[in-house]
């Protein structure tokens, strides 16, 4: 059904449509660290199973690491494989570090007979595609943020301050590197820097390869953009929120907006 060129596969993953099970994730070797100059190794991929690489590697170039002081941290030993990207960062000071892939791009979809065709790329290149007039043509502005955080010593909140662009996790009562089974965690979600109410959030525990049911939990942010998740089991979790809306027109073509946020975190046994 799909022509599996790398580009198409990556686009499918990024569109975050519920029909498509591909999930983008960045997972650290460990998220809670002690001692000085700790190293963390990350795996990043777009896959069907959490957290097993089985589809497409995450684009290494899109990955940016930020330290507890808000300054960029060097992404080291990076390698983009066929189905998995891997890299390291060194935690030279205490606090919370963030690794994120933040991308905005234009995509388009249209019909050619029964088939849905897709394109994605920079907005400036849309005109060159000569897509105008194609049946059911619609463009989307996609804003995706995929991230994870790790902490050396005491957790800090500097890197978790929203940048004001797209959907972002906001610290409420809990820190994503301080989660334990049997406890309830409360976080906030922001859209363009403002509390995002009534947004559906999907939380999935990793290792879904070893169970038959998908095991998805859905929660919705309240009027203040706050949501709560209870963790009955320790493990690694994946969290996603995607907002779709109409966004007027782009070069005369009807446009939709897709904004998504994805993160992963560890829940430790008590």
């Amino acid at each position: 059904m799909f022509k599996k060129s790398l580009g198409v596969a990556a686009l499918l993953a990024l569109s975050s449509s519920p029909v498509l099970a591909h999930r983008f994730w960045i997972i650290p070797s460990t998220s809670v660290l002690s001692g000085e100059n700790a190293w963390v190794s990350f795996d990043a991929a777009i896959s069907n199973n959490l957290f097993f690489a089985n589809h497409v590697a995450a684009p290494l170039q899109s990955l940016i690491a930020t330290g507890p002081d808000g300054k960029a941290v060097e992404v080291q030993n990076g390698k983009e494989g066929k189905i998995r990207t891997t890299f390291d960062i060194e935690l030279t000071k205490p606090g919370t570090y963030k690794v994120a892939s933040v991308r905005s791009m234009l995509s388009a979809q249209w019909k050619e007979g029964e088939e849905t065709k897709r394109w994605r790329g920079p907005a400036a290149e849309f005109a060159k595609q000569n897509l105008k007039g194609k049946p059911e043509l619609k463009v989307f502005e996609n804003q995706t943020r995929v991230e994870t955080v790790v902490t050396s010593g005491e957790p800090s909140n500097e890197v978790l301050k929203p940048t004001g662009k797209g959907l972002e996790l906001v610290v409420d009562k809990n820190h994503p590197n301080d989660l334990f089974a049997g406890e309830k965690a409360s976080f906030g979600l922001a859209l363009n820097g403002k509390a995002a109410p009534n947004v559906k959030i999907t939380v999935v525990k990793g290792d879904d390869r070893y169970r038959n049911e998908p095991g998805e939990t859905e929660v919705t942010t309240n009027e203040n953009g706050i949501f709560e998740v209870s963790f009955s089991e320790p493990g690694r979790y994946w969290l996603n929120a995607t907002l779709e809306s109409e966004a007027g027109e782009f070069e005369g073509v009807p446009m939709g907006s897709r904004v998504s946020y994805t993160t992963t975190f560890e829940v430790l046994p008590e």
């Binding site: 002690s34 001692g35 000085e36 005491e154």
Partner: protein, 171 residues
């Protein structure tokens, strides 16, 4: 001023200079028949009913490794790390020390580490948490009541990583 208030005042005045009795903590590290054995990292502390740490009593970790490499595994004493370890600068005088071999280790807790005279009356727990490299983890709780003067004598038995644990306050 009545007699009772005077007494309370005197107790308060006396507390900074410390407690005349003795606080003892016994931690048994059991012998384990495993292919690869490393001495466990062990932390003990006193906590309030809401789980907040009142005092750290001891932290045993690998203090001999170069470049403080032993601190890398402190986070594996998970609850201790979360509650207080991660906000401490190691080593902590009178509290931290090297890992201990298999056996029963009884130590007197110095007044500078924990002074019962300064502990408000109430319900508390002594918590002992052990974590072993290529091994397991166990956490034990010993509830006790402190009224300011009555002796405390409490003990429990671990199942895997810890043996007998005993805590006493002898006024």
């Amino acid at each position: 001023m009545n007699k009772k208030t005077l007494l309370a005042l005197l107790t308060m005045l006396a507390s900074p200079t410390g407690f005349a009795g003795e606080v003892k903590l016994t931690i048994e590290i059991p012998r384990l028949e495993v292919a690869e054995y490393h001495r466990p990292y062990v932390a003990s502390w006193i906590q309030a009913p809401d789980g907040t740490v009142v005092k750290n009593l001891s932290v045993w970790y690998d203090t001999d490794m170069k470049d403080a490499e032993g601190e890398k595994w402190l986070k594996d004493i998970r609850q201790w790390w979360r509650k207080s370890g991660r906000s401490l600068k190691m080593p902590v005088d009178g509290v931290s020390g090297p890992t201990k071999p298999v056996g029963t280790h009884t130590s007197t807790v110095p007044v500078k580490v924990f002074d019962p005279a300064a502990l408000p009356a109430g319900d508390y727990e002594v918590v002992v948490e052990a974590s072993r490299e290529v091994g397991g983890r166990e956490m034990l709780r010993l509830p006790f009541k402190w009224d300011g003067h009555a002796a405390v004598d409490t003990a429990t038995q671990g199942k895997t990583e810890l043996g007998k644990i005993k805590f006493t306050i002898t006024p």
